[in-house]
Structures are given as C-alpha cells and as structure tokens.
C-alpha cells in the first residue's frame, strides 16, 4: 500500500515537467515488463526483437517495420502491440500475467512522441560530479515537488541520532548535557568517529553483507572459527582504512606483494559462505556452490549486480551473459578447497591467526628461547669426556614429547640397533599405558626400524583394519598410513608410490594435525616419500560429540589377525609432535651412540652425539622444553579460513544450466564486457579483479558503497534496491547526489569517516523527523527527504543500547563469540548432535551483540525478532518490521528485564531523593531528552501503581527482581527497586526507546 502511494507520487512527480527521461521513466517499464523475453536472453528463446539496446530496438524488423520510431507514435510497432485490442496481438501476452498500466502506456507513447531518446543504463556509466552540495541536490528535488526541508532536529534528538548512527548505542546523559551546553555538533561527530565503538557499529552491517557466522550452516551446522576476521573488520573501520584498500585486501589480500598477516586474514571475507559437511553429499556439487556464493556476494556487495541470475542462463535484464558469469567464476575458482567442509572447525585453506596478546606472548617466548640458546656452552672438552662414558645399545632419538619408546633391546633377536623383537604373526605388543592418545587434530609422529611386513603400530577401537583409529603398515613393499573415523567415508589414507626392498628400513609417519592427507608425511630411511592419497575425507574427531576413545597403542598388530606383523621390529618410537625432516634423517642414520664415541663419524652422526650430549645441559633442556611449549602454544591460536591460489590453475568450464555435472566449454578468467576492462598492468587473476573493482573508471563500487552508508543513516538508500543497481533496480531518488558523493568519496581517498561526517553535517541529515499529514500523503517513505530519518533501531542497537543504559554493557573489542541469555532448548529441538547452547556466565552475558555466537540454522531469537539477517546468504538491504513478537521480546526477555532493573537502580542511586527527579533521570537515560509534564504524569502513575503493588506482594516482588545473573546493589530498598525497574521496563518498551528519531 505504501509502496503504491510512493510510486504513484514518483511517476507523477517525475513527469511533472512533461519531459520523459529514458533512464528514469522508460527503462524501468521496458526492463520489468519486456526484457524477460525481449532482453539480453532473447536470442536463446528464438525471439528476434530486443529492447535492451537502442540499435536493436530501432532496427528494421523487415519491410520497414520498426518497433520504435522516434517522434512517430503511429509508425512504432511497439505502440500498436501494447495497445492492441485483440488479446492474441497484445504485448505483453496476457498469458504471462504481466500487464502494462495505462500510465505506463502513456509514458511510452509520450517518450516516442518526444523523439524516443535513448540513454545507456545510468549505473554502468562512470559517475560525474556536478556542482552542488548534499543539501542543494536535496533542496532542488524537494522544490520540484513544492516541498521544503523541515526545521532542524532538537539538540537532544540530533546527538541521539548521531550517536546511534556512529556507535550503535545511545548517548549518555552527560554527553547530552555537554552538547546542550556547548552546541558544537562537529566536535560531537569527531568524538564519535574516534570512539572504538565506531568500528563495532560499522562492522555489524558488514557482517550481514559478508554472511559472517560462527557455524558452517547446512545440516550439521557445526562450529567454525572466523572471529579473527570479524575483528579485522572492526579494526579496519576504527583505523579508517581507505575503503579501496579494505576492498582489495578482502578480495585478494593474499595475492598482494609481500602480503602481511592482516592482508591474508582479510580474505576470510570470501570464506564466510556456508560449508556443507553432510556425509552423503557429492563434494563436486558443493565445491561449485561455494564459488557461486562468492560471486553472488561479491557482485552484490561491491558491484550492486545480481550476477547469480547468470549462473544458468544469460541475464534476463542486464547485459550479462552466462559465459561472463563463468569467466568471473574462474577468478574465484582457484582456491585449494574441497566441496565437503570439515564437520567441526575450519576447512582449508586456513591460517593461524594469533590475537595481539598471543602475538606478544609468542614474541616473549622467542626472546626467551634466544636468551637460553645463547647461554648453552660450547664445552667441547666436556663432550669428549662424556662420550667416553657411553655404553650399551641406546641410539639417539629426538628430544621432547617422547610419548612412547620400545627399543626392544632385550627382544631376543639381533636388531638394527641393539636387540629387536621377532613378530610371528601372532604377537602383539601393547605400548605403554596412556601413550599415543592422539585425536585427528593432534600432531604426532610414529617411527620404527622394520624388517618384515604387516602392521607396524596402531591405535584402534577394535582389532580390525577398518576400525576407528590410527594405523601404520608395511605391505607389499609399500608403507600405508591411515586415520579413520568412519571407514571409508571419513578417513585419511596414504600409501607410498615406490616400494622398498627386503632388509632393515627406517619407517616414519609425521602428521601435522590438519586432517589432510597432504599433511601425513611418510619417510623411509630418512627420505620423504611421494605418496598417493587413497582417501582424503577425514573430518570427524574420534571423540565425536563428547564420545570416548581411549584405545591404546599396539605394536605389531591391532588391525586384524591377518595383518599382524611377520618379521623384526626395532626401536619403535611415538612422539606427541610432528618431527622435523632433519630429526628424522638423523634417526634413520642411527647406530648406538656408544658405537660412535671417539670414532670417525658422518656429519649426521656428529650432530647426533652433540644433541645427545646437550641433553645433559640444564639450560639446553630448558630451551628445548620451551620450544615444545611454544609449539603447544601455537596450537591454541585461533585459525581463520582464507583465500589462497592453487599451485596449478584449476580449469573452469561453463556449466550448462548451472549444473556441476554438466560442464560446457572451458572459459578463461575475465570481466563482463559491458564494464570497463582491467586497469593497465593489472594481472588477469583475483588480484587484478580486486584492483579493477577499486579502479576509478569502475562505475559501480563507489556508488554502491556510498549508497549503503546512506542507507545506514537514512534507513533507505538513494537507490532503494541496495543490492541491485542493474536495470531492475530502482531508479535513484537523487541521482546527481549519489554521483556527487561517489566521486567525492573517491577523491577523498575513499575516506569513510570523511564521507559520514559530510553527510551528517548536512542540513538534510539534521532535520527534525517529525512528519505531517501532507508529507505522509505525498511521500510516506520519506524518499524525498523533506524530514529527517525516523527509523526503528537495528536488532543490535536495541539490545546494546538497553545494556548500555543499564550500565551492564561490557565493552571489550573483539575476541571469541559469546553466548548471552537465550531461552532453553532452542538448539536441542532442531540439531542432531551434541552441540548445545551453553550460556555464558559473568561479563560475557553483556557483550555487544555483534559478538553473540551466530548459529545459522538457529540464530539468536532476539536478533531474528528484530529483523537481523539470518546470515545464510549475503544481505545488504536493511529490513524493518513491526510485530507483536518484538513487543513480547522487550517486555519479557530476561535481557531487557535485567536491563530495566539496572536502569531502575540507576534512577534510585543517581536520580536524587525525590520521585520526580528519579523519574526524569530514568527518562533521560533512555530517551536522551527531558520528559514532558504529561509524560511525567504517566510515569508517576505507573510508579505509584507498582510501588503499591510490590509493597504488599513481597514474594512477587522478589520473583520480579530475580531475573538476570547480576545482583542488585545491597543498599537499595527492594520495593523501590521493583517499582523503578517496572517503570524502566515501561521506558524500554516505548516506540521512542527503540527508534532513532
């Protein structure tokens, strides 16, 4: 209904001067009503007439008939057909259900009559900065309607509006007071722009666009770890990183020359899409979906284009072809990733992303190791003396994390080093208790001297080859290694390509804990082997969903009777770390140390003796121990999924009808032809694409970006369809203003803070948001801006402001996501594994909402009630509804009851002694302005009612005060507290409290 009023106004208003403008008036009609058949995809439908280009629309269709003849309505076939009385002749065909309105027919007629002047689609032409200011463009537009701007908003309203817009919370009473006194609005803006809350506020909308979440989505929807990228976004806005740089980093930071840690981390933007982990999926299908998601997101966020439409066919409305979709696909298809995502945690490619605190601690550890290393004495004479004391068969073995050692020196057979044990196909030797308790994300190494064939060592749930666990084998001269959670759909299995002959060999597997086959390295006799990845789909931990897995290490068997080892095993060792290649080479050179003492030695043997001697040094042992600790510490770093380029470019094919299993012609990376080419010198890859996005000649990025910032302030963009600047997108309400801002933004060096400040200093922004029946009738949605924005706060603002006003908000930038109050059982009733919502305790209950743990398939209910994006897919348009569920949420959710209790407490403790002063204080805390006499009257009545009620109902009072984990101040009277809490709840429920006025 509303939309209808606006369109009615719009069309009439636009045509006020009688001159039809193609882009504004005609193109939307052609696009919406005709292009479906007579558009860029006409050819595939076998339709001759195209109306999406001037040349095609005005060409001779045969025998001199033309669809459009400028200045000659009668000769224009198009007019004949759209006005044909016979349904069979009429366009659009009645069967399509599409109809032209009388006004649209009139517009077409007038346009043709006026000469049928054509224009290229506005957003595909670079913006031009016409002289003017934000206000002059707005005033000019209003004047055309016979309207004028409203007066300025009150200072209270203005500071509240600006504070919400820039920091996402309401101003404090003191901040309002200072502004009332000084009146220096620019100073307020500067203060807000420098607040760390600024980055949090800006990041909130960016997370919607980037479909950021803390889970993988789809069916299992297990946890992932992407918050380091979220913090990168906050930090970038706070540092006022130039927006073009921000864009390039997120699209292709990894490909920048000498890419920094931060630039690589930024590319997580395009790994925020969902990842399917279900057992039964066809991985190739989802590998395609991820790339498609990247293109849909990238084109919506940075280009304002709906590229997703061209996945299956040429675009119906915009000059984009299916081939161009796959050319762009090729830019984003070169990631070494897989279709099936890890069920728990992050999927490769990923990087360790230590926090600043962790980076500092790491630096300190490095310094300490260096200090200790420097103190290790050379002590050559000491070593000589020590060597003489050596005896026995003990060989050198790497230091640190020695999890199990079975030297078999008294094994009864002659070994490679000292004795060995003979395995006859029946023997299985248990490892030490509690050894080798590794799960699939632990790093470990297994090593042995082997002379024979069969199972070397295992750790398995039962005595079978396919059972859950780890196994190292030598069979048919090939070394096999596997880790299996579920044979064979959930397993990693590698085998050496080459074979080894009979006799003694040193066999090692060193595993880096990434769940990837490429990370299980096999060494034979100290040399890294080429391996074949037999299976590479490991993703489920042994202790899946809190289950137990306490199988123990077994040597010579444990993987089925038929596979037990036959032959000799010697010096079997298990490490709780991934041994380095040089350490493994030294092991393979092994002879008993005593044999080396005082003899001529190889370089490796020399090194072995030296290391063995150093183990007697306290300082050296400390340094080594610290190295082990450092590695363990590094394992605690959060990781983040990032973009990377595969070493060999993956081929990209056009997919017929968009189906993963119907490849068509191969395509090369490339850009849509209707847009400018790559800038000179830019490579034709993802980095070049990013550079092209931010190139000054690109007509889209700056426009799309300033429009979104405008939307964040005014509720609606200048282009209402913030995600679609194509022909089906809505015509901008102020095209010259949009272009002016876009160019100005680029000229400023893509300075976001400067842009926001300019807009917020304008009269347009500073208007009062009061409206009138006349304005409501003429412009209900305030697209013409004859008044300031009055819009309901976003979900985050509603919650954060309540917590802030209560004094409960815990301000801490960044960190892992937290789990605040949420009704019980919400996850349980929909999920399938043991991944329950464990509510936080203490300060984590009160963090800003952008830190709330986001589970895509069961998103935080309060956020969803207040129109947050579900984060399943990219969302750039802001959406607001007004529902009874919001009312219930604000009245009865513990979050808001506790906030009300603390606002009530503030009224009592800070408001002074008398009731009116306290009520006025509470009103100011929430609304930022003073209460009117009438309003105060309502509050007085409410307070009296509640005080009276709670005074005589002590148990109800205590129940009412029991909501929330944080206890009330001890020195406050309980009845008073309940009474003021009820009034505060009333305040928090007013329309004004949750509205930016």
């Amino acid at each position: 209904m509303r939309t209808f009023i606006f369109f009615a106004l719009g069309v009439a208003a636009f045509a006020a001067d009688g001159k039809i403008q193609f882009n504004r008036d005609v193109r939307p009609i052609l696009s919406d009503k005709c292009f479906m058949c007579h558009g860029p995809d006409a050819k595939t439908k076998g339709i001759a007439l195209r109306l999406d280009s001037e040349e095609a629309a005005k060409r001779d269709l045969g025998r001199g008939r033309r669809a459009i003849v400028g200045g000659d309505v009668a000769a224009s076939v198009l007019m004949k057909r759209v006005t044909a009385p016979v349904p069979a002749m009429r366009m659009p065909p009645p069967a399509t259900g599409v109809q032209l309105t009388a006004a649209e027919v009139e517009t077409l007629k007038n346009w043709i009559g006026q000469g049928a002047e054509w224009e290229a689609h506005w957003s595909f032409i670079p913006p031009v900065k016409k002289p003017g200011t934000i206000d002059s463009f707005v005033r000019e537009r209003l004047a055309r309607e016979g309207l004028a701007m409203s007066g300025p908003a009150s200072r209270e309203a203005l500071i509240r509006r600006a504070t919400l817009d820039l920091t996402g919370v309401t101003p404090t009473v003191a901040e309002v007071d200072a502004f009332l006194k000084e009146g220096n609005y620019e100073k307020v803006l500067d203060r807000l722009l420098h607040s760390p809350r600024f980055g949090e506020r800006m990041a909130a909308r960016w997370l919607d666009a980037a479909r950021y979440a803390d889970t993988n989505g789809y069916q299992y929807d297990g946890e992932r770890v992407m918050w380091r990228w979220r913090d990168y976004v906050i930090e970038s806005f706070n540092k006022n990183k130039p927006f073009d740089k921000f864009v390039v980093e997120q699209i292709a930071g990894d490909m920048l020359p000498n890419a920094t840690f931060e630039q690589k981390m930024a590319t997580a933007f395009n790994r925020n899409h969902r990842g399917n982990t279900e057992d039964g999926i066809v991985a190739e299908e989802y590998a395609v979906e991820y790339v498609v998601d990247r293109i849909e997101t990238t084109s919506a966020v940075f280009m304002g284009l709906t590229m997703g439409c061209t996945r299956c066919h040429n675009h119906k409305y915009d000059p984009l072809t299916q081939k161009e979709f796959y050319q762009m696909f090729a830019y984003f298809n070169n990631v070494p990733e897989r279709g099936r995502a890890m069920k728990y945690g992050n999927s490769p490619p990923l990087m360790a992303a230590p926090t600043e605190t962790q980076q500092k601690k790491l630096a300190a550890m490095n310094a300490e190791i260096a200090r200790l290393d420097a103190k290790v004495p050379a002590d050559v004479a000491g070593q000589r003396a020590w060597e003489k004391t050596l005896a026995g068969a003990a060989a050198w073995a790497p230091f640190g994390e020695r999890d199990a050692a079975l030297p078999f020196d008294d094994g009864g057979a002659v070994g490679r080093i000292g004795g060995a044990k003979l395995f006859d196909g029946n023997t299985v030797v248990p490892g030490p208790a509690k050894s080798a308790q590794f799960d699939i994300e632990d790093r470990f190494t297994m090593a042995a001297w082997v002379n024979g064939s069969g199972t070397i060592a295992t750790r398995k749930s039962s005595d079978g080859y396919q059972s859950k666990g780890i196994g190292l084998f030598l069979e048919g001269g090939k070394v096999h290694f596997h880790i299996s959670s579920q044979w064979e759909s959930d397993a990693l299995k590698v085998e050496t390509e080459g074979t080894i002959g009979e006799g003694w060999h040193h066999v090692v597997v060193a595993y880096g804990g990434t769940r990837m086959a490429e990370d299980a390295r096999i060494y034979v006799d100290g040399v890294l082997q080429k391996t074949k990845f037999v299976s590479d789909t490991l993703y489920r931990p042994f202790v899946n969903a809190g289950g137990k897995f306490d199988a123990s290490l077994k040597v010579g068997g444990g993987a089925g009777k038929d596979k037990r080892f036959r032959g000799l095993l010697d010096d079997v060792r298990v490490y709780g770390r991934e041994l380095r290649a040089d350490e493994i080479a030294m092991m393979a050179a092994g002879r008993p140390l005593a044999e080396l003492a005082g003899k001529k030695r190889t370089e490796l043997e020399e090194k072995q003796l030296r290391l063995a001697y150093l183990e007697t040094s306290e300082v050296w042992r400390q340094a080594q121990q610290l190295r082990v600790e450092r590695e363990r510490f590094e394992r605690t770093f959060p990781s983040v999924m990032i973009m990377a380029e595969a070493p060999e470019r993956k081929k990209t094919h056009l997919l017929i009808r968009g189906a993963y299993d119907k490849p068509g012609d191969e395509v090369q990376p490339g850009l849509p032809a209707m847009l400018p080419p790559l800038p000179a010198g830019a490579p034709n890859n993802r980095l070049g694409f990013a550079q092209w996005l931010v190139d000054r000649r690109n007509p889209l990025l700056a426009r799309v970006t300033v429009n979104r910032f405008w939307q964040s302030l005014f509720g609606t963009g200048i282009v209402k369809t913030a995600e679609d600047f194509g022909q089906q997108g809505e015509w901008p309400s102020h095209p010259e203003l949009l272009d002016w801002m876009a160019v100005d933004f680029m000229e400023s060096g893509w300075d976001v803070k400067v842009l926001l400040k300019k807009i917020m200093l304008s009269d347009t922004y500073r208007q009062s948001s009061k409206t009138t029946p006349v304005l409501l009738a003429k412009d209900p949605d305030n697209r013409l801006l004859a008044r300031g924005p009055r819009i309901r706060m976003s979900a985050e603002m509603v919650r954060d402001s309540a917590l802030f006003e209560a004094g409960l908000l815990q301000e801490q930038l960044g960190g892992p996501s937290v789990k605040p109050y949420q009704p019980d059982g919400l996850w349980k009733e929909v999920i399938m594994q043991d991944f329950d919502y464990v509510q936080a305790k203490g300060t984590d209950l009160y963090r800003r909402s952008l830190y709330t743990f986001w589970k895509r398939t069961a998103a935080p209910p309060m956020m969803m009630n207040f129109d947050a994006s579900q984060r399943e897919a990219c969302m750039v348009r802001e959406n607001r509804t007004n529902t009874p569920l919001q009312a219930l949420n604000l009245m009865n959710d513990v979050t808001f009851l506790e906030a009300a209790r603390f606002i009530g407490q503030r009224m009592i403790l800070e408001g002074g002694a008398d009731r009116d002063a306290r009520l006025r204080h509470g009103f100011r805390i929430v609304m930022g302005r003073g209460a009117s006499e009438k309003e105060l009257g309502v509050l007085r009545g409410s307070l009296a009612y509640h005080l009276d009620h709670f005074a005589s109902h002590a148990s109800e009072r205590e129940e009412y005060l029991s909501y929330g984990d944080t206890a009330a101040a001890k020195n406050v009277d309980r009845t008073e507290l309940a009474g003021y809490a009820a009034v505060a709840s009333l305040l928090l429920n007013t329309d004004e409290a949750i509205t930016k006025e």
Binding site: G280, V830, E935, G941
Partner: protein
Amino acid sequence: MMTRRGFMHTAALGSLLAQDGYGAPLAGLPHHAAKAKRVIMLFQHGGPSQLDLFDWKPNLAKVRGQDLPDSVRQGQRLTGMTAYQATFPTAPTVFKFAQHGKSGAWMSELLPHTAKIADQLTIMKSLHTEAINHDPAVTFFQTGFQLAGRPSIGSWLSYGLGSENQDLPSFVVLISQGRGNSQALADRMWGSGFLPTKFQGVKFRSGKDPVLYLSNPDGYTAGARRRFLDDLGQLNQMRLEEYQDPEIATRISQYEMAYRMQTSVPELADMSKEPEKTFEMYGPDSRKPGSYAANCILARRLAERGVRFIQLYHRGWDQHGTLPKQIKWQCEDTDQASAALITDLKQRGLLDDTIVIWGGEFGRTVYSQGELTETNYGRDHHPRCFTMWAAGGGFKSGYTHGETDDFSYNIVKDPMEVHDLNATMMHLLGVDHSRLTFKFQGRHYRLTDVHGKVVPELLA
C-alpha cells in the same frame, strides 16, 4: 485519563494500521474462488520409506538379495554414503500389505489407523525431488529452492493471503522428536527469506512459553501488564501526536496484539478442556505435551482459529540402518494421530476447507544400505520417487495418483514435482502460483521458481 480503547481510535492514522501486523490479503488475492482456507502440513522429516508404508511391490520377494539391476538404476547418482558400497542387494519390505477401503489403497501393517481413513486420502506415489540430501531436500520442499534464502511456503501464504485471526500469527510451526535416526532442522525452513520477517513461521513450543517470551515475568501479574500497556499506550500516543509517524500507531497495535496473544496462545495450548474422547482418538501420546500426537491436536485447534499455515515437523525418519525397528517406532508415534486429525477435522466440518498434507523430503532406496538379513536392512535416500498423501480442502478423496516401477525406483506414470504439489495446493487456496510473486534483486520470485503446474487429477 485516556482509556485503551480511547487512544486506539483517536489516532487519525488508524486507517493505516491494516497494512501492518499480519494483516489483510494482498490486492487481487485470492486470484480465484478458493476451496481451502488453510493448510496443515504433517512433515515427516528424514524421508519415510515409501516401500515399507505405501508403495507395495509384491514381486520384490522373488529377487530378494539380488543386486539391483543396472537397467533400473540407470547410473543414477548415489549419496556419498552408499557410493562406496560394492553391491546393492534388493530389500523387500518385511511388513505385510493389504488393500483398504472402497478405494482399495495399499498400505502396510505399520499404518492401521491411516488405513481406516484410506478413502479420505489422495495418495500420491509419484513425487520426485531434485536433492539427495536432507538439508537441500527439505529446503527445496519448503522454499522451492535447494539453497538458503527464499521464503517458505507458509511465509508466501501469509504474505499473499494474510491472516484470519487478529490474535494469532498466521504461520505456526510445531516440532516433535521421533525415536528413529534424526536429522537437523533449520530456521530457514520456516523462514521468510527475502519477504519481510513478520511473515516467518512462529515456532510454538511445549512448556511454559509456547511462543518465545510470551509469559510475563514471574511476579508480574496480568493486571500489572494491563496497567503497563495502558501507560505504554499513552506514552506512545503522545509521541504519535507529536511525530505523526504511523509506525507508532502500528507499534501500539502490535503491543495490543501481543497482549491478546498472551491470552489466546495459552488458551490455545491448554488442552485441559479437551474431552476425554479427543485423547482417546489421538492416542495415549497425545497427553504428552510436545509429542506428535499432542501437536496434531494443537494443529486442529489452530485450524479452528483460522491460522493460515500450520507446519508440523516430526523428526526421526532417516533409516539408513535397522529400518524395520525404527520405522515401527515412527509409525507408532504418528499413525494414530495423523488419522485422528483427519477424522476430527471432518467431524467438525473443517476438513472441507483445510488441506492436510503428509510426507517427507524424499523416499528411500529399494536396495539395502549395509547388510541385508532376514529381519534387518537399511535404506539410503531416494529422490527419484516417494509417496505423500493429501486430504481435504478440495483434494480428491479415495484416489491414488502415479505409479512406480517394480522396484519403486523410477516413476512409470504421472510423475509429480514438488513444485506441482505446491502449485496444486496454492490453486486450492485460490492462488495462481505463477502470479504470487515478490520482486527481489531485480527478479520476480515465486514459490515454484519457474516450474510447477496444477495437477488436475488431484482435484475433487
């Protein structure tokens, strides 16, 4: 002091209220005279086996244990779970089948109650779907597209047809847990996609708060809440007079609806006044809040109150292994209540304008997943054919539509897309599925995407 009724009507902008809340139908809707006003969808989540319930294949006994012939499988893609399997042994059902009612519909012994209402049903044996895994298949079923982001059926209908009850949401979701292998649900399955979020399904839960945040805090009485709302109304009214923003008027009305919901929802959920015979009809489980049977009674109560789309989800139909044991549990938990719902609606005269739909996101394979023994087998996902039934609201009763081949593997007669079912359902609700659209990202989207046709044979 102004009364509640007072301020509701002093607002000069009161006429704008109708556009918000759950509201009136879209202009031009219904497109044609509707047979049905509402839908109850009994969604059996996980993919019930058509082979063990409806699609009787007597000849399978002869080829028991034999590999599924390639001529039947036709190289069709398999899920990652059985793609590794070396053989595909044919597994006939272990359950007995018989014909029921005048229509002679075949049903297995697992469904004794459904069998009794066979003549009320339209049994569709020739449904097929695009997806082979739960999440995309359910998302496809509910939103017409495998990937997230589109509105669900109930959202489309609330958006198009509006609400017939000013005290309850127009789209309600009820979830129950099965005893068989369960798969996950997701909010998006009842989400509003790109439609305004007010059209999303509202989950009704068992327990203290059937709707999230419904109850007043402990210690806060209904009287206090009434007083609170009167005070709130006054404050909002003052702001409305000063700012003239119709959103404030809407806010006032939404708080009043919230208040009405605080009464109407518990009243709805309170089954204590249901006569004994209701519980007898729906079975012993119906006394357990949150059970499928209890949700079926709730569904009837919601239908009585004019709620537009009532979506039940019963989990636990994903029988990859130990199917005979698990499917028995599932049927014990659902059969009686599903049948009782039909009978109950009919007795109350509601069946004529209420569509009831029963089924899951896909079928199951004729070959056994894992080992086939005398008494045990499993079945993998099978998108190429599955069985659903519909009743009431203009569906033809006592009619079976479509046929599958001897292995219940391929459809041999009257194939039906999920889009066709949705198009037919919308047709009965007075909606032309090709004309209920919403423009988003430059495109006019609809539930049936670019597919779907009304199946005339299904209409009474």
